[in-house]
Amino acid sequence: MSNSPVDTDEVEHIAELARIDLDEDERDLFAEQFADILASFETLDEVPEVDRDPDLTNVMRTDDVEESLDREAALSNAPETEDGQFKGPRVS
């Protein structure tokens, strides 16, 4: 079994961090399922440290002004807009 058990309070805390409300049934089910899934993730402890040699190079372009999505198109899927801008809920 996992040595970092996730109880329903922990699931509730993660859900808060992820900004997803859960009902009680989901919370209980996830707590149960997460125990098994996290226990399987524990097997990663057996992985040796590996010399990582990422074959990466930066790809840069010149900062030229180009055509982009126009404002009307960018706003076309927003549930609420005002004066050509997205309208969201109050921040606090």
Binding site: L17, Q33, F34, I37, L44, A78, P89
Partner: protein
């Protein structure tokens, strides 16, 4: 039979001429189509209409293809059965009562049923190859960086590629020819070196080809799957290829590493669904955090919530080193193992899926069981390599079995050549 392959059937016409003129290519519903709904199989995006085309859609249209519609999929690509779609599950047209595999199950199903000539899927941990294997068609997961992801709605961007699904290897290769190549809108794309006429590589000429068989990816498979796999190897031997067994000890940890990385990336990528710029807002009262959390409870299904939460957990303070960093070590180890094995072989071969198609509903209550079915496909995404799934006959219960060939980075021509030798099986 209504197998629920499409979420939206709306025709998009391409150019009059081109290599795909007169052919239909269905498109998975997480690939943006200007003016045509793109839902990702989620209630969150059920009324989302992209204002632009994905690069691969532009290329299909330029090549003369007709897009008959957008295909069903596991919600945001998260599933192995196409049962987590908010628009209902897809049934397997090649195996009644069974799932078509996922997450590109709709794309494989419409091709298997003959309702589209070809289709595009996306493959993050096997989502093109699994449904291709389960539906008895061909699917290719390209090398990371061969095909543009611009306009693909992100799930786990370090792992995913758009890939073709078709009835034969040659047709899948023709479709790859159309969508492959660098795109200035996706900085991870590269110009591939070497042999890049993929359709021409489907010549079935495997004389002298050296095939490595990773024992770890064969031993765990069902007997019925293993029998078909060895039949395929026998056929390749008869055609002049030879094989040797290889060991890839790292792959024992691939599924776990894949899920930690994919879930972590998903928790970040799916943070964008706040119901303000697009998607379901629910119209809730309250401050930003409260309305955001309520909209996301409504909009996401259980598998998506599960993965976002687990990814949030794996990245949270105190757990990052334990899960995410270890998974990155495993990823580097898998990559090293594959690179070494491919120094001694032209391609590696294994069953695509260790099991035949599940019965419908069988794996929904046990997410871990569903995850473990991805044992043979996820290592390839971790290693950024190309792979193809090719039909290898059926089990005695008439369930399709697929064989997977994995090649070196940008070695698509080698896996296409190997796969095409089985086209006539």
């Amino acid at each position: 039979m209504s197998y629920n392959g499409y979420i939206t059937e709306q025709r998009i016409d391409g150019a009059d001429d081109g290599p795909l003129a007169g052919r239909t290519v269905a498109v998975k519903d997480n690939i943006s189509t200007a003016g045509v709904p793109t839902t990702c199989g989620s209630a969150m995006l059920d009324s989302y209409v992209p204002p632009f085309d994905a690069t691969v859609v532009e290329r299909l249209k330029e090549a003369g293809a007709t897009i008959p519609g957008k295909t069903n999929m596991d919600e945001f690509g998260m599933g192995t059965t196409t049962e987590t779609s908010a628009f209902g599950p897809t049934e397997n047209p090649a195996a009644e009562g069974h799932v078509p595999g996922g997450s590109s199950g709709g794309s494989a199903a419409v091709v298997a049923a003959g309702d589209a000539d070809m289709a595009l899927g996306t493959d993050t941990g096997g989502s093109v190859r699994c449904p291709a294997a389960f539906c008895g068609v061909v699917g290719i997961k390209p090398t990371y960086g061969l095909v543009s992801r611009y306009g693909l709605v992100a799930y786990a961007n370090s792992l995913e590629q758009v890939g073709p699904i078709a009835p034969t290897v040659e047709e899948a290769a023709q479709l790859l020819d159309v969508i492959a190549g660098p795109d200035e809108r996706d900085a991870t794309t590269r110009d591939p070196d070497g042999e890049t006429d993929y359709a021409a590589a489907a010549d079935g000429d495997v004389a002298g080809m050296d095939i490595g068989v990773p024992t770890e990816l064969v031993e765990g498979a069902d007997d019925a799957v293993r029998e078909r796999f060895w039949d395929a190897i026998d056929a390749l031997e008869s055609a002049g290829a030879s094989y040797h067994e290889v060991s890839l000890p790292s792959v024992e940890h691939a599924v776990e590493a894949y899920y930690v990385i994919a879930m972590s990336e998903a928790s970040s990528n799916l943070a964008r669904y706040d119901g303000v710029r697009y998607g379901q807002s629910g119209g809730y009262e309250g401050n930003w955090n409260e309305t955001f959390a309520a909209a996301r409870e409504d909009g996401f299904g259980p598998e998506v919530k599960r993965r976002i939460l687990l990814g949030t957990y794996a990245l949270s303070a105190g757990y990052h080193d334990k899960y995410y960093k270890k998974a990155q070590d495993a990823r580097a180890w898998v990559k090293q193992d594959f690179d070494e094995a491919l120094e001694e072989a032209d391609v590696l071969a294994s069953p695509t899926m260790p099991v035949p198609p599940f019965e419908r509903g069988e794996s929904l209550d046990d997410p871990l069981k569903m995850y473990l079915a991805d044992a043979n496909t996820t290592p390839v995404n971790l290693a950024n390599l190309p792979a193809i799934s090719v039909p290898a006959g059926e089990t005695d219960d008439e369930l399709p079995v697929g064989v997977q060939f994995v090649g070196p980075a940008f070695g698509e021509s080698a896996i296409i050549r190997a796969g095409s030798a089985l086209d006539t099986l």
